[in-house]
């Protein structure tokens, strides 16, 4: 989300989900929306039914691409050249919104200078997309009054993830498609409360409400309320921790509801880190791969057994209501943290999770007006919500960007860290599938979901399959420089020749043994979407 | 017939008396209901099936390979295909399974009385037809039987004990074929449809019974039609995913029909009214 933070000043979806329905042009890039965000896809298809134009930019012919007006099947990792080419067309054809650029943005000269240096024919070759299609996409997007861009992890999970996002923001600002209703830039958040976990400061550099830990004023505010000294230096990020290895700084870890031994890249490295710890405690609802390595495992209550809030991708803070008491001897994660804190000499006394929200409201200005009793009688509140009378904010950046003026950040093409070569001739891309969620610890428990989709399949183009003499259903060994898995083949022209695609939900087929730990230097998002592999028929 | 019956979906325990390995993929389970009285009273008809339960594995429909003319035990021949059948293959004599049934529309043995039978089977498809063949042989006044049985390879040929008896039975002609030969095989190689031209049957006085993989069934049905068999005299039995067995859950839909209650036995005449491309 760092990309939007540098350009707009705030890294979240600028629209409400329902606004997408009334857009005139929807540009979807790096998002398999029908599978990963079905409700968002529903709005897109509704918009198409109302006459909207849908442009899908994806290396694969996804289901959404089949429904699209225009599908640009770019070479993986060439999002920046493609977006730059679109912007160049917009400049060449005088489709830019000069008034918006003048009034609301800064650093446009740098972007223009960069764009004029580009050679469109070269970009056509790099991206593998016909210039004619790029031109049409640029025209559609720029000419419409209400254009929305939706992107997801296909944009961010690259070493140039931040630059990818900045390029999208550049495109939106260039055409003035930001500040209005039904118009904006919408990152779709993958997990149910990833927005909330970020908002709550479960990040190494910020307190709740994106207040930097190394800012003395913020720190003093928190120290005053929590009545204790707080560390000033930003901490280690996820991969810095899980990939620190046996000789790294990690001596002990406390992991709540995460399964890095499935979800993180280069799993061998994660395993080395976890097994070398002097102490590992895990709180989870299932004995995950990670929990199986722990010294202590806490049985946590599931969402049906507790009360609290989640924040969805459109910044809507909503109540989670308890339906049943915790099963067996389970306790909520909140109770576990409170019990540990008490034992370590720091009493946390909350009579309910509603009281915790009151503390959040006290400390995080964007949550200042959010209270459980307000949520109980509404469909939630979209932050920023500045006070208890504030109705919430359906779309961001009305009249001014969070950071003041929108900032253009020109970017050049940065190829993926690992591209196919002679020894590893295929490009592996991975992502989510409709029937399962993340590491599958919950959805794989459903007999029906498992029946519908019970194993990982590797999508291979018919031409590649013919060359490897592979038929649908054959088992393959897929290896990268980091590891290997066994996987079943599915022959389909949804993927381009030379590329293969699969899902990471399945413990039997741990794809992240293969993926690369190279990450974006700013957002520290690993490059899950591109690595080089070889295939052998078993 | 079953208008007043009610179904509570409760399987009855049955004890495995004996297990016969037919080939590497197929085992025949000789079973008796644990409740002796119930076992004695148990009746069924060829072509019908039972829902078989295994702990934690759920249920699967398996057709009878035994004949009710030999009461006391029931035999279910099971090919290893999914997790339930794999677990079943790991069982031993003395272990228990759950059974409910019998279900389905059977082969009407009275109609076959006195007619010559042409049995065409492939792989596990011989199981339900074995029930008919042995039932006929046990009943006086049966006609001539011609059995054509195709397997993938010679070592896959199942029900060898029965085949041995059939091959020596005066009223039976039994031909085997394989898709691919193995050392020591001197019989025919090729699809079972290839044998149809070599047998002497009179379509007017014969009924054909067909069971096997879907592609084979489709090919054989067409070939039999060309040989002059009336559509009503070509019978086959269909395999479908099933959950209830009583025509409610709809997993086994075949066009407007439900295989568990309208079948699994269908004549070609019935199938022609449905969509044949979805065997």
């Amino acid at each position: 989300m760092a990309g939007l933070a540098t350009t707009f000043g705030s890294g979240a979806m600028t629209n409400a989900i329902n606004e997408i329905e009334d857009a005139e042009v929807i540009l979807v890039i790096g998002s398999n929306t029908t599978e990963a965000h079905p409700q968002v896809a529903r709005r897109m298809l509704n918009a198409v039914d109302k006459g909207a134009k849908l442009i899908v930019i994806d290396p694969r012919r996804t289901r959404l691409a089949e429904c699209a007006t225009l599908h640009l099947a770019l070479a993986p990792g060439t999002d920046i050249p493609l977006l730059n080419a679109m912007m160049r067309v917009i400049l060449d054809e005088s489709l830019a919104d000069q008034l918006f650029i003048d009034m609301r943005t800064e650093n446009f000269a740098a972007l223009r200078a960069m764009l004029y240096r580009l050679d469109l024919a070269e970009l056509e070759a790099v991206t593998g997309v016909l210039l004619e299609d790029i031109r049409r996409a640029a025209q559609l997007y720029a000419r419409a009054r209400r254009s929305v861009v939706c992107y997801c992890l296909g944009i961010t999970q690259h070493i140039c993830g931040t630059a990818n996002v900045q390029s999208i923001a550049n495109l939106a600002m260039l055409t003035g498609h930001v500040e209005k209703q039904f118009t904006g830039v919408d990152p779709l958040r993958g997990q149910n409360n990833v927005q909330g976990a970020c908002d709550m400061g479960a990040l190494p550099n910020v307190f709740p409400g994106y207040q930097a830990v190394d800012n003395r004023d913020y720190r003093e505010k928190f120290e005053r309320v929590w009545q204790t000294r707080l560390p000033a230096a930003p901490g280690l990020s996820l991969l810095d921790m899980t990939h620190s290895g046996a000789c790294g700084p990690m001596r002990a870890m406390f992991i709540m509801g995460e399964n890095p031994l499935r979800s993180d890249p280069s799993l061998d490295r994660v395993e080395e880190t976890l097994t070398s710890l002097a102490f590992l405690a895990v709180s989870d609802i299932f004995l995950t791969e990670t929990a199986a390595h722990a010294h202590v495992v806490f049985p946590a209550a599931s969402f049906a057994e507790k009360t609290g809030t989640f924040t969805n991708t459109e910044r809507r803070v909503q109540l989670v209501r308890q339906a049943i008491p915790p099963i067996g001897d389970c306790r909520t994660d909140a109770d576990i943290i409170i019990a540990l804190s008490g034992r370590l000499g720091y009493a946390m006394a909350y009579e309910s999770t509603a009281e915790i929200m009151e503390e959040i409201a006290l400390l995080a200005p964007i949550y200042a007006g959010i209270r459980h009793d307000r949520l109980r009688h509404s469909w939630g509140l979209q932050w920023p919500c500045w006070n208890t009378a504030h109705p919430g904010t359906p779309f961001l950046h009305k009249y001014y960007f969070t950071r003041g003026k929108g900032h253009f950040v020109p970017n050049d093409h940065l190829p993926p860290a690992e591209l196919p070569c002679q020894d590893f001739p295929f490009l592996l891309n991975s992502g989510r599938i409709y029937h399962h969620y993340h590491t599958g610890s919950m959805t794989r428990q459903s007999a029906l979901l498992n029946r519908e989709c019970g194993e990982a399949l590797l999508m291979i183009h018919p031409a590649d399959a013919a060359r490897l003499k592979v038929r649908g259903g054959d088992r393959l060994c897929m290896a990268s420089r980091r590891g290997a898995v066994e996987i079943k083949a599915e022959i389909t022209d949804q993927v381009a020749a030379g590329s293969v695609y699969t899902n990471f939900h399945f413990g039997e087929t741990p794809i992240n043994r293969l993926t690369i730990a190279a990450q974006d230097p700013v957002a520290q998002c690993p490059e899950f979407k591109v690595c080089a592999v070889r295939l052998e028929k078993l | 017939m079953s208008l007043m019956r009610s179904e509570d979906y409760l399987p009855r325990p049955a004890v495995i008396q004996k297990i016969i390995a037919e080939n590497s993929q197929i085992k025949t389970f000789v079973l008796a209901l644990a409740d002796q009285q119930a076992n004695q009273a148990f009746t069924y008809r060829p072509g019908q099936f039972m829902m078989v339960s295994l702990p934690h594995r759920g249920e699967a429909p398996i057709s009878f390979s035994s004949t009710p003319t030999r009461p006391g035990t029931i035999e279910l021949s099971v090919r290893r295909a999914g997790s339930l059948t794999a677990a079943m293959h790991a069982l031993q004599a003395g272990d228990q399974v759950g059974l409910r049934g019998p279900y389905g529309r059977p082969f009407v043995m009275e109609d076959l009385q006195g007619r010559d039978l042409l049995v065409v089977a492939g792989g596990i498809g011989l199981a339900p037809l074995r029930s008919v063949i042995n039932g006929c042989l046990d009943t006086p006044g049966h006609g001539k039987l011609t059995i054509l049985y195709g397997s993938r390879v010679p070592s896959d040929i199942a029900f060898r004990g029965d085949i041995d008896i059939w091959q020596h039975h005066p009223a039976v002609t039994c031909h085997l074929t394989v898709d691919a030969p193995e050392p020591g095989w001197d019989g025919p190689v090729g699809l079972v449809t290839g044998l149809l031209g070599q047998v002497k049957v009179d379509p007017a006085s014969s009924t054909a019974l067909v069971c096997g993989p879907p592609v084979m069934i489709a090919a054989v049905l067409t070939a039999l039609g060309k040989m002059g068999f009336a559509d009503e005299e070509i019978l086959t039995t269909m395999e479908r995913h099933m959950k209830c067995g009583i025509g409610v859950c709809r997993h086994c839909h075949l066009d407007s029909k439900l295989v568990c209650v309208d079948g699994p036995v269908f004549s070609r005449a019935q199938l022609k009214k449905l969509q044949m491309d979805r065997l």
Binding site: I17, N193, F207, A233, M241, F286, V296, L344, H438 | -
Partner: protein, 133 residues
């Protein structure tokens, strides 16, 4: 039988879903017709939201490693030992040897508490979650 309105956990859309509660068990999930996101429908995961809640694979008791094996222990034993180890290692590394992973699947309140616990009690900013995965 009750219908309890809650929020789906299976993606960032945040659909409003009714859990059907019967005798202490959750036996169904259905959409809220008026919820602004779900608007009367759920995806296939949402309709099967209840399936995992009573899974036999759920952890139901604290576990602690003894002689290499994870064995059931009391809450007090698990909490005491965890507090002791986190306290010991935290003190010896000045908080820098401890890493805390929070969760995009837990509630805001729990994420808030865990980062507070990390910063105020364990004295480390080594806290993150898989926002990028």
């Amino acid at each position: 039988m009750r219908h309890v309105l809650t929020t789906c956990v299976y993606c960032g859309c945040g659909c409003g879903v009714y859990l059907r509660e019967e005798n202490g068990r959750v036996t169904g999930a259905s959409p809220s017709r008026n919820h602004p996101v779900s608007r009367g429908n759920l995806c296939v995961k949402g309709w099967h939201l209840h399936d995992f809640i009573h899974s036999p694979k759920r952890l139901t008791t604290p576990l602690m490693r003894k002689n290499g094996e994870l064995v059931p222990v009391s809450w007090d034993a698990a909490l005491d030992y965890t507090a002791q180890e986190l306290g010991r290692i935290g003190a010896s590394t000045n908080g820098q040897g401890i890493g805390v992973l929070s969760s995009a699947k837990c509630t805001n309140e729990e994420n808030f508490l865990l980062q507070k616990f990390s910063r105020a009690v364990l004295k480390t900013n080594n806290i993150d979650h898989c926002a990028r995965l």
